[in-house]
Subunit: 362 residues, 4 copies
């Protein structure tokens, strides 16, 4: 009810603030006998870790994850898995100013309006630091998915637009996402973004981004119509990531401009399995997976913390100017890539277990 | 778990198929002592009713809603409200052909893959007929919202794009939405759409659409971070509507192309209340309402049932051609407008009650 | 949140009042391809139907159940099953007196306190009439359990105490439960109860009862520690039945008086399966089924509607005397037997599906 | 779905095993601005702490609770509260024997049957150590209840039976519960129990107990019919405590032996409020609180770990004899008293928030 849990059969609950002693989560519903150790999770944490390039926040966090329950002798036991990450780099600073101010584009004003109080240190609960635990839980979800569905599945994310600059899809190469600090699948675009983002950073400005996440190798039949459709749950999942303002599946908003002839994916047989001749649907029809690639995209707004002074108000209804000091993150969308992948894994793990409940098999 | 319910504190569950004897829903969590009668619901049902113009399906349904529980002497009692609508125009026809075929772009294939069976008559459970009950439940949500928040709130939807043709926002006039068969707020665009849609209809083709829903007058503080954020729940809600492929809040995908300076809404005082100087955020920051207009848009794909033959397969893995016969709906997006409004009302009613649980007030 | 649903993976939601036009429920999470028709449900409805002996309420209800969704060509489709039962014998009478009075032992006072309103006709939502839908949903649960677990399972209930008169367990014969109007497994006790209950009835008084429900043939492994243990869910289920004041598992309250030696069930091998030498645990250890008989008992208080005048108050804080008129049910516990069986079936169906989600098998 | 959470509006989720590094919980739905510090929780933890008398387990745990999120500057923020307790006294020992054995009366067999694996060290997840986190969460629930309802409420527990020896209710004095190691309200009984329990302990045997928990000062109107009735939730809550085999409300099982005249509590006015002349109902009618004392009792079975050898089997289907070594707890029921109090507080906090959601007030 209070919103800090996600999922039904595979369900995780996160806790912790940006500047508290630690953050953590509980993952409940993990099937037993799944091989799991801290390195399985740490691998994904490291992809999201801040401070890895000059294009993301300079907060220095080792983000070492500890498993504190639910694993015994190297495998899961079916009991809840507790994960904890210590907060290390809560840079001590004077918060007296910001404690009274509402920064434009931040959650300062709304947290105050909702709760009548907020932990203003580093954004408190509204900080993107919380997404570290999504990535950790997502690492468990991946292990569960492989345990049930085998090795031939993958969940991969890429940055497909930075500011107004999109990629050329003809250049798409998943391998390239590991070769640049943007998870960009188009090497040429990545080169151009570097210059663009340096400019944004030096100007003390910021820009938005679009992320695409693709899940391959998943069976048809996942998703629970009417209200827990696979696409509904993906939309909810991605929209819950900090700064996300839009989500689309397959052709997405472009589908509105297509004709019925252009949009509906035709089918043929490929040997003894159904083959779709296109994937405008993004792998989901009627809220249920088709067996094709599941494709979701989401838009991240530009970081609201910028060096230009902005008009705002404070808690005492004074009109003020706000200018962010300290660490600055020109494009928060970059680090949203591993978070989007994690949310995809978490949604799919949940629906695999739900399909198993309903039909006894996946 | 099985997906036919929506909401937490204000929760509804729908049942029924396109060609069953009736459809219905149960709405649980309705506060007591809210004045409610069938006309309060029927008003909204009539807006969605099929067969009201040549641009929507010709199925003829009176869609008369009956309240069968939860209301006594003209007010709600706090117990679950049962609603039933008889299906009247289940045109008898021969389903032997379609029973074996998978129509491209429909849920035929995925329902079969998921359940191993499907009610193929009129799409069964996957039919947009189910949305009638959302509109009915939405009528109750509206009454609850007015009961708690008073008269000065509104939830209104409009069609802002048909096929590739968008409106001119300079022409926006809410009153116009009642003057054309498209809920179009731009009279000029509405005129152009008429010709365009006649062409689509006569060609036996179809087109997509974009709908915008705006909730005005709602207080700041609604939404439950982290996973039940107001925007997450709206994304889930809109994506659960048949044929929706994308959802965005405020500036949405366009936000990715903006700079931080352009995107963050500045604040000033207007008398003793906070006034935002723009609404790129769509009325939601950190997943919590700001008190501004709450603005959501969603894209509906073109109807998959078209007169042009399309390549597909059947249940026995034969390659076939499918051509839709009978009633044809050139733009399902039109009738999605009242459904989108209803989902907005349902999400808001839920979050108003949840905020009341958490803080004792709204 | 508002309390009219039960279960998680196998979940039902009921609606309707004693004197409304109809009552019904939605059952969500029913696996597809389970053979199901109205007679499968009606069979169990008929066992609970009022007016079948002079020892239960004389309300005359045919209780004909209609399936309105979720079943197609004789099998379930995996979509929600809607069930409706018309209310026929809502005897018209003058409610003006009772509308203002709080009857001792009834929910009149508490419904008024909670909701500020109540449908006073026949108890409204608080009437045991609601249990008809539990029995209907329970009929579906039984079909699902047989579909998954086969024929060699059973769920049976019996009345083991009426007023102060218990059965002699040495006489227990399940076949006898069908031979007397009390579901009594001890023919001799049944004979004595007849005289006792005639006396109670003629005196215009009432008495309580204890019901025992036994589920046989279920596998070990059902139940989700820590908070959705099988016994926790059974306790919740049985306590939710009208007039129930106590629930116990296996040895129950008597276990408090036993020593550790007496209470813990020893184990031996019987061929290649584990055999327990006693069943003090009632088939549940650590909240998980052992594979033995699952045994639950619950106590029903005496009907509060009696002919003797009782002191009470009315809505206007006047002190009054209340004396029930009209139909009188000397022992509501009798008709609780099929309801208890249904709740057992519903809990087990839920846990079978949940175990399937977690481990992929039952 | 996987069972490690309790509550809806006020919801907590626990994690951790008996011999893991730590145990903890997340409490979600805590209203903001409630004063809360670690001592508020520690106070209740200390009441449950093991090793405080010779009659309970000799495990030595300081049980120091740490708040790691959700509290800022001495008050709650409305965000999830993380609590962690280090496990200190996980006595290192050789588990090779017990790892293969199923102890009679324990959850060894059922955890193995359900999950195919179990953490056998000290009972793993099935250990009563988990209840420490219930008491911690219960401490928060108490603060919330006082914040909303004021000071004049109380939740108190007492041991009313040890083995076959009950108290004399005429001697009931709440103050006495603090004067003996049994939370016994009857000083005379407490004296007798001391001798009795010394005998049980020296014999290496064990005995059961009955606990009564009473909540005073709570308003009428709490509880959500039909399936989340206040008594249903209390039954579920208490039955989820380790070793509990029975739960009853008010007159409980004794109600079955009463007549309608004896059982229904009459009402009169006491000034301008309704006064019940007895409390057979245990403060709950129709699943909703009446405003009287809420009275629940539950039975705890005797500890299964005893020194007498018992017949059992092992994982390889060998017939064996099992005899518990090491620390021995003659009556686990004693330490269930603070746990039962905590569960009462947790259920009431949940229902207070739910009533607030539904009606806007408590």
């Amino acid at each position: 009810m209070a919103g800090n849990s996600f999922g039904t059969a595979f369900r995780f609950t996160t806790w912790g603030e940006s500047h508290g002693p630690s953050i953590g989560c509980v993952v409940d519903g993990v099937p037993p006998l799944v091989p799991l150790g801290e390195p399985d999770i740490q691998h994904w944490m490291d992809r999201r870790r801040p401070g890895q390039s000059r294009f993301t926040t300079q907060r220095r966090e080792p983000d070492e994850v500890k498993i504190v329950s639910g694993v015994f002798e190297g495998v899961t036991t079916g009991t809840p898995i507790g994960l904890i990450v210590e907060n290390v780099d809560q840079r001590s600073k004077d918060y007296s100013e910001i404690s009274e101010q509402f920064r434009p584009g931040h959650a300062d004003f709304t947290y105050q309006a909702k709760y009548g109080i907020r932990d203003y240190r580093g954004g408190g609960r509204s900080s993107a630091r919380e997404t570290a635990m999504r990535v950790a839980a997502g690492g468990i979800a991946r292990k569960v998915l492989h345990h049930i569905l085998g090795k031939d599945i993958s969940i991969r994310g890429a940055l497909v637009q930075v500011g107004p600059h999109g990629i050329d899809r003809a250049n798409w190469d998943w391998a390239e996402t590991e070769n640049n600090p943007f998870w960009c699948p188009d090497a040429q675009a990545a080169g151009q973004w570097e210059g663009y983002l340096d400019g944004v950073r030096k100007a003390g400005s910021s820009c938005g981004a679009v992320i695409e996440v693709v899940a391959s190798g998943f069976p048809a039949g996942l998703g629970e119509p009417i209200y827990d459709k696979l696409d509904s749950d993906l939309a909810r999942a991605m929209m819950s990531i900090n700064a996300v303002k839009g989500v689309e599946i397959g052709a997405g908003f472009e589908a509105a401009s297509l004709t019925g002839e252009e949009n509906a994916d035709e089918m043929r047989m490929a040997g003894n399995r159904v083959d779709f001749l296109s994937n405008k649907a993004g792998g989901i029809l009627g809220g249920i997976s088709t067996g094709q690639d599941i494709v979701v995209r989401f838009a991240v707004k530009p970081t609201s913390s910028i060096l230009t002074p902005r008009r705002s108000v404070d808690r005492n209804n004074n009109e003020i100017e706000v200018r962010t000091k300290g660490r600055h993150d020109p494009c928060v969308g970059i680090r949203a890539v591993p978070v989007g992948e994690a949310m995809m894994a978490l949604v799919l793990a949940d629906h695999v277990l739900r399909q198993r409940a309903l039909t006894g098999k996946v």
